[in-house]
Amino acid sequence: MFYLILIAIWELAYRVGVDWLRIWKPYIFPSPIAVFTTLWSLIVDGTMSIAVLASAKRILVGYLLSIIIGIVVGLAIVRFKYLDENLSPLILGLQTLPSICWLPFSILWYGLNESAIIFVITVGSTFAVSIAIESGMKNINPLFARAAKTMGARGFSLYWNVIIPASLPSIISGLKQGWSFAWRALMAGEMISATKGLGQVLMVGRDLADISQVMAIMIVIVVLGVAVDKLVFGKIELNIRQRWGLDKA
């Protein structure tokens, strides 16, 4: 219902701004009807499914890589004080660097292909993941670790049985953040250097001055982002919150 109202306002703005007052041109401000017609035709002619599949493949590979690397780096920082002192500021700095800045390097190293984009995605979300792991593990209730130690946990078993599960809530939110970074990196990468994928379809829309297509792809990106968030992370988070009793406010 809320979204219907939003679309109605959009349509109204279009009518007033483009049809009556003629202060905007139709090619800079699309009407919702045009956008949904374009969206439908993109779905029907198969462009959309090809684009979504291509993008999904890239982001899955890139995101998985970043999780693996992020976990390794995060654990290493937690485990070794020397790395913590020296590497943490660097990681924080790299985290603030938009991952698209890596694209020139990436193209030089890998060429204009899948690997270049996957590299950008991985770089984009690895640091968010490792920072989340680091802060999650550092901020667990020290009582958990003390209790586990008196029961004979040490070394690996302490990490596996206590520290990792105890920091899971913050790790999940870090992974979630990593996902959104990966998603942004993917779009940026595709817009600049891909031959298929959502970002590329968006750029085609720009090149053909088809603002409806640009808008349609933007909507698809947002919907996919929300869907993954709700279906994957939302479920995991809800499960953890219920177990821990964090919902009882």
Partner: protein, 279 residues
């Protein structure tokens, strides 16, 4: 199996000061003995317990447990903390099994044992609950069951009932007494509650503050199981309270403003008005 604390001192160095928390503690805990360490807040009794547990290291001196010097925490000296320290990501039964899982005991065996100890603390009905679904007293029972499963001969308890309401506390004290009678573990129990100490202990060690040292020992030779209403307990408690009162006032003086004076009986009322105590 006994625990021997030899010349243990602990000091913290702050920016411009050196704080002696514990000063030359010598004490022995015997097999099967229930000892309460009693003292005012800030006297270092929890620090002493942590040193015995191996969670903190002594500045000087050493702790010898069963002929071996204590180097770190271990399952032969399980600790029960003031907070239950249960893991919220595990069900009650898995929490109880946790220590045994670390020890590598096979699944069926540890399930059977966990059920047995849950029965002992009357919580089998809740074995599939998560921790947040339990009340404070129930959580502390689960923690007790978890501590018992490791079959350590030594059980260290750091004010385990201090955060509970008084009814729950009473019930748990009596249950702990019963469990101790059944298992005959060596329990070292830190508390600031005189009645609790007298009810539970064979021996009460009163500590003084600043620096923490052992002030006096009391042997409680009353028949078990003891009831909190028992009048003999009240006499003994009054005796120990006298000893403690001085220390409590000392701590209060150190912590409060300098204009705080200990007016007679302001901290703890003296039991002399009972006429007959300590005669």
């Amino acid at each position: 199996m006994s625990v021997l604390v030899e010349n243990v001192s602990k000091s913290f160095i702050t920016k411009n000061d050196r704080i002696n928390t514990l000063n030359n503690i010598n004490v022995e805990f015997h097999k099967g003995e229930f000892v309460c360490i009693l003292g005012p807040s800030g006297c270092g009794k929890s620090t002493l317990l942590n040193i015995i547990a191996g969670l903190e290291t002594a500045t000087t001196g050493r702790v010898v447990c069963n002929g071996k010097e204590v180097k770190g925490a271990g399952p032969d000296r399980v600790v029960m903390f003031q907070e239950p320290a249960l893991f919220p990501w595990l069900k009650v039964i898995d929490n109880v099994e946790f220590g045994m899982k670390l020890a590598g005991i096979p699944k069926e065996e540890r399930r059977a044992k966990a059920t047995k100890y849950l029965q002992m603390v009357h919580l089998t009905r809740f074995q599939n609950c998560y921790i947040h679904e339990l009340s404070g007293g129930m959580r502390q029972r689960v923690a007790l069951a978890r501590a018992l499963t490791l079959d350590s001969e030594i059980l260290l308890m750091d004010e385990p009932f201090a955060a509970l309401d008084s009814q729950t506390k009473n019930i748990l004290q009596l249950e702990l007494q019963q469990i101790w009678l059944e298992t005959k573990k060596n329990i070292i129990f830190v508390t600031h509650n005189v009645e609790e100490a007298v009810l539970l202990a064979d021996r009460v060690i009163v500590m003084s503050a600043n620096p923490g040292a052992i002030k006096k020992e009391f042997h409680i030779q009353l028949a078990r199981p003891r009831q909190p209403e028992n009048i003999d307990l009240a006499y003994l408690a009054a005796d120990i309270m006298k000893e403690l009162k001085e220390e409590v006032e000392k701590v209060a003086k150190a912590e409060f403003d300098t204009n705080w004076t200990s007016k007679k009986d302001i901290v703890l009322s003296d039991s002399d008005s009972n006429m007959g105590t300590g005669i």
